[in-house]
C-alpha cells in the first residue's frame, strides 16, 4: 500500500514538472518500441514455428545426433573465437596502452590515432585487406612470396585468420579502457611499494597488475561480446568455420527461416547478455580507480631499456601492420585486377559511382539524419539518469545501453519480425501510455478525466471509421485543417502567440504529409531528364530525401499531436480545454491507428531507428560523463538568480555539455556509416546501405569494388570527424578547462 501511495505521489510530482514528464515519456516510448519490443519479438519467435505452435525444434538440434555435432561445433567455435579475440585483443590493447602511457615513445599522438582507426572503419575493412594481402591471391602471399594454395592447404581463411582480424578490429576498445586506467593509476602507490624495497617485477605483479584487473576484466568481457556480435569479419574470412552470427545471417539470407534465426539469436543472446550484466554490475563496480577523475600529476615512466624497448617495438610493428592493411584497401581499389594485374586503374571507382551512388547517398543521408536523433535522445536519457529521481531510472539506463550491447543481428531480426506488419500490440500500448499520460497530467477532477478519456476515444473511433471511408490522405488533411483552425483561433484570442503557432505549425506539417508529393514529383521529372549515369542516379534520390522529412509514419504523427495538445492544454482554461483535449485526442487516435500503423519495414524510418538504437549508448555515456562533471549547484546558482529551467538549460547546461554533444555526434555518425548487422535485413530496393553493397559485391567476387566502397566510407567518416573538430575548435576556444569527453 505504502509503495503504491509513493508511486502516486511521485506521479503527481512528475506532473508538476512537465518537461521531465515529456522527456521521460518520449524516451521511454522510443526505447520500448525500438529496443525492448524487437528483442522480445526475436526471443519469442524462436519458440514458435510458422503455424504459431510452440516448438523447440532448433534448440533440440543441439542435442540430437544428426544436427547436434554441427550445431555444437558452431557454438564451440563461436566461443573459441570470442575467447581468443578477447585475450589477444586485451593483451595487444595493454601493450599499446603501456607503451603510450609509460614508455616515452616517439610519435605518441600518431600511435594513439592509429589505434583508434579500426573503430571508425567499416566492419569488414580489416578482413578485406587481410585477404588482399594474405589471401590466396594476396599481394604478400602470392605476389611476393609466390605461395600456392592447393585445396586443403592452410590459408588465411578459417579460425586463425578470423581471430587475427578480430583482434586488430577490436583491440582499440581494450586500448582505450586500459590507457584510461593506467593514466589514472596513482603513481604514489607504486612509489610506496618501491620505497619498501620491492623490485620492478614484484611491483608489477603485486601492485600494478591487481589495480588494473578491473580494466583488464572489463576489456576482456567487452571484446568477447563484440567479437561474438560481429558479422562482417566472419562472413568474409571465416572460410569453413561458421560462427553463430554468420549462421543466423545465413538462416535468413539463405533459408529465409526466421524461427531458426530467432532461436540461434537467442542462443547468441544468452552469453552476450550474461557478459553484459557481469560487466555492468560486477566488474565496473570493482574498480579501485575512479575513471571520471582527472589524471593525477606525475606519471611513472619506464626507464629500464629491457622493458621499454620490447613494448615500443611491438607497438610499432603492429602499427606498421595497421598502416599497411589500410594502404592495401586503398591500393586494392585502384588496382586493375588484384592478384593478377596490380597496375593503376580508376575502373572500380567509376563502376562504384555508377552502380553505387544511390547506396552511398542513402547511407550518408540516413546516417546524418539519424545522428541528431540519437544524440538528442542520448542527452535526454543522460540528463534524466544523472539529474532526476524517478522509479524505473535503472531500467531506462539499462535499456538505452542494451540496444548497442546486444548483437546487431538480434536487433535486425527483431525489427523485421516486429515491423513488417502492423505491430498492433505496440500501437495499442503506445496509445494507452499516451492516453494515461494525458489524463494523468491534466489538473482536473477524476470525473472530468474519465469523461475526457471516453469522449476522446469515442471521437477517435469515429474519426477512424470515417477515415477508413475517405482514406488516410483526406483524414490527415482534415486533422491538419482542424489544427490550423484552432491555431488561428488561439493566435487571435490569446495574448501569448506560442500555443497558436505550435498548432499552426503542426497543421502545416501534417498537410505537407501529402502536399510534399507536389514538390517531389516535379523534382523527380526534372531528375529523369538527366542523361543516364551517375548524376541521374544521384538526382533521382533527391526527391525521396525531401519526402523523408515530411512523410513521418502516421502513428508517430499522432503521438506528436497528442503530446503537443497536452502541452497546450496545461496552459489553457478548463472551458476551452474541455473541447480541445477530447477533439484532438480523437484526432491522434485516428492517426495512430490509421492505415497500417508502424509497418515500417521498407521505409527509411526503420533504418533511422536502427541507426539511432545502435549509437544511443555512446551518446548516453558521453552525456552522463559530462553531466556528472557539472556540479549541480551550478544549475542551482542559475536558478536562484531568477532563471527558469529553460533559460538555465539554454545558457548554462547546454554550453557545458556541448563537448559531449559534439563527441556524441562524431560517434553516432561513425557508428551509423559503418553499421551492418542491425540493418542488413532492413535494406530495401529503394533504401540501400553501403555496407550491404560491399557484402554483395564481395559475394560476386568484386574484391576491388568492395575496397573502393570501404575507402569511401572511411573517407566520409574522416571528413565528418574533421568538420566536427573544426567546429568544436571554434566553439570551444574560449572555454579553458573543458576538453572533449569521449564517450568511449
Amino acid at each position: 500500500m505504502l509503495a503504491i501511495k509513493r508511486r502516486m505521489q511521485e506521479f503527481s510530482l512528475i506532473g508538476r514538472d512537465p518537461v521531465l514528464a515529456l522527456s521521460l515519456i518520449i524516451s521511454a516510448l522510443f526505447l520500448f518500441a525500438f529496443i525492448v519490443f524487437p528483442i522480445a519479438q526475436t526471443v519469442w519467435s524462436g519458440f514458435f514455428n510458422k503455424e504459431g505452435q510452440f516448438s523447440l525444434t532448433y534448440f533440440a538440434r543441439y542435442f540430437d545426433s544428426y544436427y547436434g555435432p554441427v550445431s555444437r561445433q558452431i557454438f564451440l567455435d563461436t566461443l573459441t573465437m570470442g575467447v581468443l579475440t578477447a585475450s589477444g585483443g586485451t593483451i595487444l590493447g595493454f601493450i599499446f596502452a603501456y607503451t603510450i602511457v609509460r614508455c616515452r615513445v616517439p610519435g605518441k599522438n600518431f600511435l594513439h590515432v592509429l589505434a583508434l582507426v579500426p573503430t571508425v572503419s567499416p566492419p569488414f575493412a580489416i578482413a578485406l585487406s587481410t585477404i588482399l594481402l594474405f589471401g590466396r591471391n594476396g599481394l604478400v602471399t602470392k605476389g611476393i612470396l609466390n605461395m600456392r594454395f592447393p585445396p586443403g592447404s592452410n590459408d588465411v581463411y578459417g579460425m586463425d585468420g578470423l581471430v587475427f582480424v578480430q583482434i586488430i578490429t577490436f583491440f582499440s576498445v581494450a586500448y582505450l579502457i586500459l590507457r584510461a586506467m593506467l593514466e589514472r593509476l596513482d603513481p604514489s602507490m607504486e612509489e610506496a611499494a618501491r620505497s619498501m624495497g620491492a623490485g620492478k617485477a614484484h611491483i608489477f605483479r603485486t601492485v600494478t597488475l591487481p589495480l588494473l584487473i578491473p580494466g583488464i576484466a572489463g576489456s576482456f568481457l567487452l571484446l568477447f561480446v563484440e567479437a561474438l556480435a560481429d558479422l562482417g569479419n566472419p562472413l568474409f574470412i571465416a572460410g569453413n568455420v561458421t560462427v553463430l552470427s554468420a549462421q543466423i545471417f545465413l538462416a535468413i539470407a539463405g533459408e529465409y527461416d526466421y524461427q531458426k534465426a530467432s532461436a540461434l539469436a537467442f542462443v547468441l543472446l544468452i552469453p552476450t547478455l550474461v557478459v553484459f550484466l557481469v560487466q555492468r554490475y560486477y566488474v565496473s563496480r570493482r574498480s579501485y580507480i575512479s575513471v571520471t577523475g582527472k589524471p593525477t600529476g606525475g606519471l611513472i615512466e619506464e626507464k629500464e631499456g629491457w622493458i621499454r624497448w620490447p613494448f615500443i617495438i611491438v607497438t610499432y610493428l603492429v602499427s606498421g601492420l595497421i598502416v599497411i592493411l589500410y594502404v592495401a584497401i586503398i591500393y586494392g581499389s585502384f588496382s586493375k585486377a588484384w592478384g593478377i594485374d596490380y597496375s593503376f586503374s580508376l575502373e572500380w571507382w567509376k563502376q562504384m559511382f555508377q552502380r553505387g551512388i544511390e547506396s552511398i547517398l542513402d547511407t550518408t543521408f540516413l546516417s546524418i539524419l539519424a545522428t541528431p536523433i540519437a544524440v538528442l535522445l542520448g542527452m535526454i536519457v543522460a540528463f534524466l539518469v544523472v539529474r532526476k529521481q524517478f522509479s524505473g531510472k535503472q531500467a531506462l539506463d539499462f535499456t538505452s545501453n542494451l540496444g548497442g550491447a546486444v548483437p546487431g543481428t538480434i536487433l535486425g531480426i527483431g525489427f523485421v519480425l516486429a515491423f513488417s506488419t502492423p505491430p498492433w500490440f505496440l500501437v495499442v500500448f503506445m496509445y494507452v501510455v499516451l492516453f494515461l499520460f494525458t489524463l494523468g497530467i491534466l489538473k482536473t477532477s477524476i470525473v472530468e478525466k474519465v469523461t475526457t478519456g471516453i469522449v476522446g476515444t469515442l471521437l477517435g473511433i469515429g474519426f477512424f471509421l470515417g477515415g477508413s471511408q475517405i482514406g488516410l490522405v483526406l483524414l490527415t488533411y482534415f486533422i491538419a485543417i482542424l489544427s490550423l483552425g484552432f491555431g488561428i483561433y488561439l493566435i487571435l484570442t490569446r495574448p501569448k502567440k506560442k500555443n497558436g503557432i505550435k498548432l499552426i505549425s503542426f497543421g502545416i506539417y501534417a498537410a505537407f504529409h501529402t502536399l510534399i508529393e507536389y514538390v517531389a514529383q516535379p523534382l523527380m521529372r526534372a531528375a529523369n531528364t538527366i542523361p543516364e549515369g551517375t548524376w541521374k542516379n544521384a538526382a533521382t534520390q533527391f526527391p525521396d530525401y525531401v519526402q523523408v522529412f515530411f512523410k513521418l509514419p502516421h502513428t508517430i504523427l499522432g503521438c506528436v499531436l497528442m503530446i503537443l495538445i497536452v502541452t497546450i492544454a496545461l496552459q489553457e482554461k478548463p472551458a476551452f480545454r474541455r473541447i480541445l483535449v477530447p477533439l484532438f485526442m480523437g484526432g491522434s487516435f485516428a492517426l495512430i491507428f490509421g492505415g497500417k500503423p508502424l509497418a515500417l519495414v521498407g521505409t527509411p524510418y526503420i533504418i533511422l531507428a536502427a541507426f539511432a538504437v545502435r549509437s544511443l549508448p555512446a551518446s548516453v555515456r558521453s552525456g552522463v560523463a559530462s553531466l556528472q562533471q557539472i556540479d549541480p549547484s551550478i544549475e542551482e546558482a542559475s536558478s536562484i538568480m531568477g532563471a527558469d529551467a529553460q533559460y538555465t538549460f539554454r545558457k548554462v547546461t547546454l554550453p557545458l555539455i556541448m563537448p559531449a554533444i559534439l563527441a556524441g555526434l562524431i560517434f553516432s555518425f561513425t557508428r551509423h556509416m559503418t553499421s551492418l548487422s542491425a540493418i542488413i535485413f532492413l535494406v530495401s530496393a529503394k533504401w540501400r546501405i553501403v555496407t550491404a553493397s560491399i557484402l554483395s559485391e564481395w559475394e560476386q567476387g568484386g574484391i576491388s569494388m568492395a575496397a573502393a566502397y570501404s575507402t569511401i566510407i572511411i573517407v566520409f567518416v574522416l571528413i565528418a570527424i574533421g568538420i566536427l573538430y573544426l567546429v568544436s575548435g571554434k566553439m570551444l576556444r574560449r572555454r579553458g578547462g573543458i576538453d572533449i569527453t569521449w564517450g568511449a
Binding site: D631, S633, E636, S639, M641, G736
Partner: protein, 356 residues
Amino acid sequence: MFLVLENVVKRFPPRGGAAEVTAVNGVSLSIEKGELVTLLGPSGCGKTTTLRLIGGFEVLTSGRILLDGVGIDNLPPHKRGMSMVFQSYAIFPHLNVFENIAYGLHVQKIPEPEVKRRVRKVLELVNLLGYENRAPNQLSGGQQQRVALARALVMEPKVLLLDEPLSNLDAKLREQMRTEIRRIQQELQITSVYVTHDQIEAMTLSDHIVVMNQGIIEQIGTPEEIYRHPNSQFVANFIGRANFIPAKAKSVQGREAVVECYGKEFQVSCKKGITAGTKGVLVLRPEMLWISDREGVFKGVIKRSVYLGNAIEYEVAVDGASLIVMETNPKRMKLYARGTSVTLDAYMDLAHFLLA
C-alpha cells in the same frame, strides 16, 4: 519578522536501500530584516537542508516558510528573489567574471548600461575591479569566492543565503573573507542566512546563532548568550570547550541558582525552568579556571601540560574526572610538571548550571 520558518519538516524518501531520512525535524525560526543568522552544527545536522528549503531547492514535507508575511513554500527558486553563495562557488566555467556577475541581471532583461553600472559597483565592493574579462579558471580560490559573493550581491536579494562559503579557503584567507563578508553585509543591510560548521566563523559573523543537531534546533541566541548560557551539553561542547562538573541545584530563582558541588555551594546562572533539587552539571569554561598557590575550589594532580605560547593548557585529574584548564594570564605562566599536586581556583560565579 522578515523571514519565518514554521515547524519545517523535510524527509527524504528511502533510496537505493537506504532508509527514509528525516533531515529537518520541526524547525521554527524567525529572522529580522537586515540581520545575519548562522545555522551552526555538525555535518548531517540538517543545516544545509534548512538553507536549501529556504532557497526552494527542496520541497517541504510539512510546515511553512514565510517571506515578508507571504508563504513562499510553492515558489520555485527563481521566483523567490533570493540569492545564494555556494560552497563550491558554482561559478559558470564558460562565462567570464563580468558575465558571471551580470547573469542574473541579464535574466531580468535589465538594460545594458544599468547592468554595467551595477556590476561595477559590486566589483568595487569585493575589490575585484579590473578582473571583468578573466575566465574563472584564471582566478585564485579567494578571487573565485569574491566573484561568487559579488554575483549574489548584485541581485540586491531579499535574502542572501550562504552555504559554507569559506570552507574551501585556507585559514588566513578565511579570516580575511569572514571580516569582509560581515562588513559588506552590514553596509548593505542584507538579511542573510549563513551555514557553517565552524564555531569561530559563527561567533565572529552572526547577529544570532542557531545551533542545530540531528534535524532540530538546540538553541537560538546571540553569540554571547550561546557561549555564556548554553542550553545543553551539546551546545556547550560544540561552541568552545567546556568542563562538566556534577552538581545539584539547592535553590532556584529565575535564571539564578545556588548549586552544591564537591561539598561546596556556589551562586551560578542556570537554564530556564530548572527546579530546586535537580541534579545536573556545571559548565566551566577552561579559561575560568586557573592554578592557584592559595587555597582554591578543587584539588588535583597535573596529568598533562602543553605550552601554547599565548596560553598554557593543563589537564588536571580531579576526583577521578579530568578538567581542562586554560591559563591565559601571562603573569601566571609557570609551567607545572606532570604529577604535580595543585589547587585549582575558578570564577564560579561565571559557571552555568545545566541538566545532565
